[in-house]
């Protein structure tokens, strides 16, 4: 096979996955309290359905989807709603959230099947079941899964791209899922193929996970057209556009979606979750989180209820090291640092990374010397150098002319910048400023 096994540009951060790559997925004990923000996904926040004092069972819907691109929120543990109000959110601010005091003595078992069995359902029915179960992408952005399963009529989808790259350093939850739940992944693939009405799936896995490639190859069902491809290790290999370029050699048009080139991309964790929802009959109320980093005593991959607070998660992982200095939700490249240990794990929280003072030592920022490394790093071929100097002068509209909107905030430019200029942060700020500005 003469396929280029990677995309152009990108960066090579050390992957640091050895901390947890060998830790099997284990369940942590239920916490005393779960906090469920109503905004856990891309799109409109869920509409609140409960009031303080209400008794909820595990799997009860407490927030309803507010539109097509939205997703419901379910109680992840049986208990009583203590209060509803602003709560620290991984995005940095406070968001309305439902606090549930977990009932110590509840069975925490499903009363009845909340999600129907998928076999025998029409594709349309599967999609609405997926939405009702609150399934979203688990890779980070938490894009509602049912949207991906119902492409617009003008797009002809021919391939499902299964994203097993997990290119962010440190994180290993997808890796473990592929090792431990390969069959479940393929069940999910089967469901997705059914919904999309297509036959073909391509699995892309970075080569730093040879065991996962091996397992996935072996587990691939013979009746489906499935290809498992080992890819070069490079960040951001797992970005949709990069992955489609590598696996299908198609370039998603600027401003377009994978659907424009006939592909749907979903990461293995989300696909496994899709299958799990139908298997267990429970909506998305728990997920696998990698807790890792030099600042935590016992790193591992844990299954926890959505809404588990950071402090409980850390405690389950043996507590913080003495020189732990920063906690990040997500991977080190795109994840956001959180200030409060009360921040809850969301549906989209793929990992919690605890860095120690060694990694977070403040580095001086220097003037840009136009070395061009950001251009060499940018996977979408922007000119971050120019964008950065425009951002400094706040010429946002001129930044648009330089294709700011194609930036996916992958952080490669900041990573590569020898002058330590927070480029992707500047771009995020500029994008936010432009979004706030009334459309001109």
């Amino acid at each position: 096979m003469s396929r280029a096994l990677t995309f152009r540009n990108g960066v090579h951060p050390g992957d640091a996955k050895e901390l947890t790559a060998a830790s099997p997925i284990r369940r942590l004990p239920f916490p005393d309290e779960v906090v469920l923000p109503l905004r856990q996904h891309t799109g409109a926040p869920a509409k609140l359905l409960v009031r303080a004092g209400d008794r909820v069972e595990r799997g009860d819907m407490i927030g309803a989807a507010a539109g097509f691109i939205s997703s419901p929120v379910h109680a992840s543990a049986a208990g009583r709603v203590r209060s509803i109000g602003p709560w620290p959110h991984p995005s940095g601010g406070f968001e309305p959230a439902v606090r549930i005091v977990v009932d110590r003595y509840a069975a925490q078992m499903p009363r009845r099947r909340l999600v129907p069995d998928w076999e025998g359902l029409a594709p349309k029915e599967i999609v609405s079941a997926v939405q009702a179960a609150g399934v979203v992408g688990l890779g980070g952005a938490a894009f509602p899964a049912h949207v991906k399963l119902s492409p617009p009529a003008d797009q002809t989808i021919d391939t499902l791209v299964v994203n097993g790259c997990e290119c962010e350093p440190y994180l290993t939850s997808d890796h473990r899922v592929m090792l431990e739940y390969a069959d479940r992944v393929y069940t999910g693939v089967r469901i997705m193929l059914r919904c999309l009405g297509i036959e073909r799936a391509v699995v892309g896995i970075e080569r730093n996970k040879p065991d996962a490639i091996e397992t996935m190859r072996r587990a691939a069902p013979r009746d489906l057209d499935i290809e498992v491809v080992g890819l070069d290790v490079k960040y951001p290999q797992g970005a949709e556009k990069m992955l489609i370029k590598v696996l299908l050699d198609r370039e998603v048009p600027s401003g377009g979606l994978p659907g424009n080139v006939g592909a749907v991309v979903q990461n293995v964790g989300s696909i496994a979750m899709l299958a799990e929802v139908f298997e267990t009959g429970l909506p998305l109320i728990e997920r696998i989180v990698t807790v890792t980093g030099p600042g935590v005593r016992k790193p591992g991959n844990w299954i926890v209820p959505v809404g588990t607070k950071l402090c409980d998660l850390i405690e389950g992982s043996g507590g913080l090291d003495d020189d732990a200095s920063e906690i990040i939700f997500g991977g080190p490249m795109m994840g956001a640092s959180v200030a409060s240990l009360d921040t809850p794990v969301l549906k989209g929280t793929s990992g919690v990374l605890v860095l120690s003072t060694n990694e977070t030592r403040l580095r001086d920022s220097h003037p840009c010397i136009r070395c061009g490394r950001c251009l060499e790093a940018c996977p979408v071929f922007l000119n971050p150098q120019r964008l950065g100097s425009l951002a400094r002068k706040e010429s946002f509209s001129e930044m648009l002319e330089h294709n700011l909107m194609d930036c996916m905030l992958c952080g490669c430019c900041s990573y590569a910048c020898p002058s330590n200029i927070p480029l992707s942060h500047l771009f995020a700020t500029a994008k936010a400023a432009l979004r706030r500005r009334p459309a001109a």
Partner: protein, 336 residues
């Protein structure tokens, strides 16, 4: 569990290895062998001149730099001073070297707002100023000195005063010999550096090795020197084939004058070279072309400095023209 003090910072939370001061100081470090060979060839004069030009550069940066002395730590002023010193003839009065360093930093860098904002290479701008201001002193090349310890000219001329011993010492560079007397210099002398010339331009081989080291460490954009060497070698080779008597061959062209120093250390100055790979190739080709034009058809025997300065002026234009095609942009729409 006690609440630890948690920091919050913007993503990404990991960083690549290089930092700007690292790059700068590694360039300075790679200049050490070049400086050493300059001192080996030209004795105490070389050391004095380098010190004077560095002093000029650093003093100006210190007095007028925006954030005072802190900027000195990034090493860029030191590089400017060293590079300027390396382009000067060994017999130049020290005050001129000092003036050149001050001019380069002041008008080549600080008026634009300091490091990273300048358009012209400060060292070369300083050199061009000196060339225009003191055309005689800066084209006076010493002939071989009696002992290593003797000065190679009137380094200690009083400030604002002419050097006393100009004519007695004047020799000629290989390029001058070629241009004005049609006398070739042997390739071995050129490669080893046993010729007359500026402090840093004689030891082509040392510069090439240091440049390779920098390129391997990725502290230097290898495309620019590669492009310059290719262009110069091709053009010189072609012309040499046409008329061997009139046009010198590629080896002579590559190793004579300041081409090595210019291509490896001056043209690759990150601030004043294009940011795109395509731009770097164009930039290098432009320098190569201008070097050949000025050397062969111009009035000066050496044109590397002017070629780089002129291409520096074109860099904003090259950057505009070579904007990468954004991922997913329709081919027909082109770059912008």
């Amino acid at each position: 569990m006690s609440e630890p003090a948690l920091g919050v910072s913007a993503s990404p939370h990991v960083k690549g290895g290089d930092s700007t001061p690292t790059i700068m100081w590694s360039v300075v470090a790679s200049l050490v062998p070049v400086v050493a060979s300059a001192i080996y060839f030209f004795g105490p004069s070389a050391a004095l001149l380098l010190a004077a030009s560095c002093a000029g550069a650093l003093a100006t940066e210190m007095c007028f730099g925006q954030r005072g002395t802190r900027r000195l730590c990034d090493g860029s002023a030191a590089i400017t001073g060293l590079l300027l010193g390396l382009t000067l003839p060994p017999g130049l009065p020290l005050w001129m070297a000092f003036l050149g360093g001050a001019f380069g930093i002041g008008f080549g860098k600080l008026v634009y707002g300091g490091l990273g904002q300048n358009v012209f290479n400060p060292a070369l701008l300083g050199r061009a100023f000196l060339q225009a201001a003191f055309p005689v002193a800066i084209t006076t090349w010493p002939v071989r000195a009696e002992s290593w310890w003797s000065l190679r000219g009137d380094n200690f001329a009083l400030p604002l005063m002419s050097p006393a011993t100009q004519d007695a010492f004047s020799g000629a560079t290989p390029l001058g010999l070629m241009k004005f007397e049609q006398t070739a210099t042997s390739s071995w002398d050129l490669v080893l550096g046993t010729t007359a010339g500026s402090l840093g331009e004689t030891s082509g081989l040392v510069i090439l090795v240091c440049g390779l080291y920098l390129a391997v460490r990725r502290h230097l954009e290898w495309r620019i020197p590669a492009s310059i060497f290719c262009t110069v070698a091709l053009l010189a080779g072609g012309l040499h084939l046409l008329d061997a008597a009139r046009y010198p061959g590629p080896v002579f062209t590559l190793f004579s004058g300041g081409l090595m120093l210019g291509a490896v250390y001056m043209a690759t100055d990150m601030v004043t070279s294009p940011v795109t790979h395509r731009g770097c190739w164009i930039f290098g080709a432009g320098i190569g072309l201008l070097v050949i034009v000025i050397r062969l058809w111009g009035g000066l025997s050496e044109g590397v400095m002017y070629a780089i300065l002129l291409m520096n002026a074109l860099v904003p234009f090259i950057n505009r023209a070579t904007q990468p095609r954004v991922f997913g942009a329709i081919e027909a729409e082109g770059g912008s």
